[in-house]
Symmetry: C2
DNA sequence: AAAACCGATTGCATTTTGCAACTGGTTGCA
DNA sequence: TGCAACCAGTTGCAAAATGCAATCGGTTTT
């Protein structure tokens, strides 16, 4: 890891950490796909990351404080990766990027539905989803809300599109 | 350029276009630094991009419809690069990324001030700035507003921090 | 006891990046 | 008119990052 940075610009510094083709996809899978183990991230992603790259990126994300790793008590070898608050707060970045991609790039129907809902929901929905992530990744208690969670709604929407095809 | 994409996910597709260490910095300089010529982008950026990388990225951004290039009527060799609507709408992505970097990374005081103002201003300020960009890059007419533009305010804030040091 | 699964690591080929020098042309100035 | 400075890139080459497939030592399942 290089310690020297090219400049103190916030965008540049962010790109030095996240500016590659995989890091944000890993975050995405942790957020929206609920992937928490190495194997899940490796095999259940659309894009097919290779194991050495995944290992390398997870290490960087750990070093940067964007994720944490703990042992799975039920399985000595499994590590559980979690988002930190810093990682959870990447949601707005991903949401904006998804909205832009949805608008301008050849997004598939089933993978676009989440972007659309997230975009339509706006910052208010993002905040609610981030609260849910705090619960599942940080163990934060939060008062129960009525009805399905944002995560569940996104998942349900995705599945209904898949089913319709 | 590879035409095949790894998946139809909007985030993935966006990253296939913008997921490197330089593309978004070029967009940033065009948006906030008002750089419109090759030389300006090459020499006036904080980070020091090299000319072959810059040429390559400009080509990609052209191909993707994020920027356009036209001849400068006053100077036969100079090309003028402009953001398209698609490029202008990357502002929210940059703004969120800047806000995240500002909060969590060792941002320098003078380069952080823009991120802070942009973050505090929120989507409303972004929309105003995007309107200004439409005027300067697309030639769109817009009704004159009172007082300094968003671009001018950001610039003034930056200069006042530099001066104070 | 064997097979399957776990999180990685290794070796190696390909691709991308980064640096420095350079190109062919244009413009500004003496 | 001639020459220096400037323009947008291009070229050659070394170094680093990426991608693939095979593998590793250990754990869990059957």
């Amino acid at each position: 890891m290089t310690d020297i940075s090219r400049s103190g610009c916030p965008i540049n510094l962010s790109l030095e950490v996240l500016g590659d083709k995989w890091s944000l996809l890993i975050i995405r899978d942790m957020m929206f796909g609920n992937r928490r183990h190495f194997r899940e991230l490796l095999t259940k992603s659309e894009e097919g990351i290779s194991s050495n790259i995944l290992a390398d990126r997870l290490k960087t994300l750990l070093d940067e404080g964007i994720i944490t790793r703990e042992e799975d008590p039920t399985h000595k070898q499994k590590g559980i990766y979690s988002l930190t608050e810093q990682g959870i707060e990447l949601l707005p970045v991903l949401a904006q990027m998804a909205a832009w991609g949805y608008k301008y790039l050849p997004v598939s129907q089933e993978l676009g539905i989440r972007a659309r809902l997230l975009s339509e929901g706006g910052p208010k929905l993002w905040a609610e989803f981030m609260d849910e992530l705090r619960e599942s990744h940080l163990g934060t208690k939060r008062r129960k809300r009525a009805g399905p969670s944002v995560g569940e709604r996104l998942q349900a929407a995705y599945e209904s599109v898949v089913k319709r095809k």
